[in-house]
Subunit: 356 residues, 2 copies
């Protein structure tokens, strides 16, 4: 198995599964947490390693370490494992996804942006999502005809904040996720609902349908629901833990307990709420995105570009949201026809967004 992004939360969970089921790790890729990467190298003895910054290669005790984006692509070329777990964050995950597909590898994809940006140009049959929501949908579908797929959202950091206070909120405030701790980017994407827009697009590509929607479920116990053609609805409930989708992507034995089951008598009431477009103004983009899913590249680029100044404290939450929305609107007629056009559009959107 090849693991891209081994020191993040998905990476750690993946290695826990590898440890438990004795899955050999051929290659590890990490960003800047080199101390943790070294521990992982010592334990899992991968044949090849790559890190984000080529300058820091000498810090790693391993005979074969590559650096930078090219280093990751080289690592993919020179490794043999059929399965690539891509848990890189943001746009940086796209090139390795494309390379893995070019090499005919299977992808376990935690990098949502790959599908959001380039879903139309990927071989979706060779992709398994590592995501509670899509895992839940897959678990429920079972080949029955359905009318609608529904994923749930926690509501993010501002789900209960006074509406008037949200626009002036800071980066630190947007990081206070009510349910769990994740990476910074995805936590901000939760507060804006961009994460859920991404997941609608993922579902669109993975399951080949625009009939996808989301609702808020505050406890994050139900992750996905499927409304079947006959009138049945089924729901997937599980603890918030990525080991379940990871173990499935890694084809671990399904009769093994990966997580303890939720305790039905302890979880308390479960309720579904609409996602209010007043609180989450970007949510209004869901219709056009599902109609023109190739515009995912625009949303992603606008989101990454507008988040940078917010992260640095140079803009507030409302400004970031407004920039994403206005940028998207400026490009919403420009659906890319090819991967090349999509990448070109990505640059243009970032440039446009940077000009605010």
């Amino acid at each position: 198995m090849i693991l891209l992004g081994s020191t993040g939360s998905i990476g750690l969970n993946t290695l826990e599964i590898c440890r438990r089921f004795q899955i050999p790790v051929e290659a590890l890729v990490a960003g800047n947490n080199l101390e943790l990467l070294q521990e992982q190298i010592d334990e899992f003895q991968p044949g090849i390693v790559a890190i984000a910054d080529p300058a820091r290669i000498p810090e790693i005790r391993h005979p074969r370490v590559y650096g930078g984006e090219e280093g990751i692509l080289k690592l993919l070329e020179e490794s043999a494992s059929d399965l690539v777990v891509n848990a890189l964050v943001g746009f940086a995950g796209l090139a390795p996804t494309l390379k893995a597909q070019e090499l005919g590898r299977r992808l376990a994809l935690a990098n949502k942006e790959s599908l959001v940006i380039a879903g139309a140009f990927l071989e979706r049959e060779r992709i398994v999502p590592i995501d509670s929501e899509h895992f839940g949908l897959w678990y429920l579908m079972n080949g029955r005809p359905f009318r609608r797929l529904v994923i749930t959202a926690s509501g993010g950091a501002f789900r209960d904040r006074e509406l008037s206070e949200i626009p002036t909120a800071t980066f630190a405030e947007a990081l206070r996720h009510p349910n769990w701790s994740m990476g910074n980017k995805i936590t901000i994407d939760s507060a804006t609902m961009v994460n859920k827009l991404f997941e609608l697009l993922e579902a669109r590509w993975l399951f080949g349908t625009p009939a996808v929607d989301a609702v808020i479920e505050r406890r994050s116990i139900v992750h996905a629901l499927v409304e079947f053609a006959d009138g049945s609805t089924t729901a997937h409930l599980a603890g918030v833990d990525m080991k379940l989708p990871i173990a499935t992507a890694l084809e671990c034995p399904v009769e093994e307990p990966i997580l303890p089951p939720v305790d039905l008598l302890e979880i308390g009431p479960i309720a579904f709420e609409a996602i209010d477009p007043e609180r989450y103004p970007l949510w209004e983009l869901r219709r056009i995105l599902l109609e023109r899913p190739r515009l995912g590249v625009v949303l992603n680029a606008a989101n990454e570009a507008a988040m940078a100044p917010f992260r640095r404290g140079e803009s507030d939450f409302g400004t970031m949201t407004r920039r994403i929305l206005e940028t998207f609107r400026a490009f919403e007629e420009r659906e890319p026809a090819t991967l090349g056009e999509a990448l070109e559009l990505d640059s243009k959107v970032r440039k446009h967004c940077g000009e605010f």
Copy 2:
């Protein structure tokens, strides 16, 4: 299709499905609502008919009407359809179930008592349950390894009554089901939790496992849950309407909407509660029943025998419950080894219960 019990709520729903999908009805069996039966005969033109009381045969305008239990068995013998929908109530449903199996027919079984009394002696592969809970379990299982099946209970008429007032409650009070209107017997069985004990036994026989439990879900939106080996839990949600299990048992096209889906944003909070043995003293029998499921015959006989005086106003709710419990305890060592023994035990239990 052959329909036993055409004028009850399951029967009416079955005929609605037959009407919609143009399923021919070869034979109809009804109890005492002969006016409604006549309308059904006029509409569906069955080749054979049977009614409970042989003396009333002349009241029916049809060339081939049989009467009494033997009449039903004769109707089964003389008909040709592969599928028998058995929606008769109580012990009376058993003989037709046995006859249908003897004739090699497929059974769509709404008569729970058949499985409760004789589950060990039936060919379970030829039986499809017509029951929201078991339909839900079947819908969810999909061949994955599971650790526990969970069905839900509404809690019945006394779920919110002061504990001290329950023992003196009357038949009329026990009929006030909080969620819906069903036949009298099943409504009383809901208040005592006997209905849920029956359903545990049904699941035990249908799915071949003692790992079955129940929880209270007051809104009756979730009907069943499956806890899978990997730690996933899935739930089946649907409107309270038997047309969904009936349409499936009748092998109607699954891409047709049988019911409207539940509206996730309108259903309100869903919560699961434990079944409190103080409120439902018969619930303590679940362990021994799942351990020795052939004792279902004892529970059913005690229940039918103790319910008769309660129905006539000769005993109160507490007395009925106590008689069922004490009778069961008196016979709990006597697991029947054969169908003959089970039927013999049935008579003994009824006699014992009648002697209070």
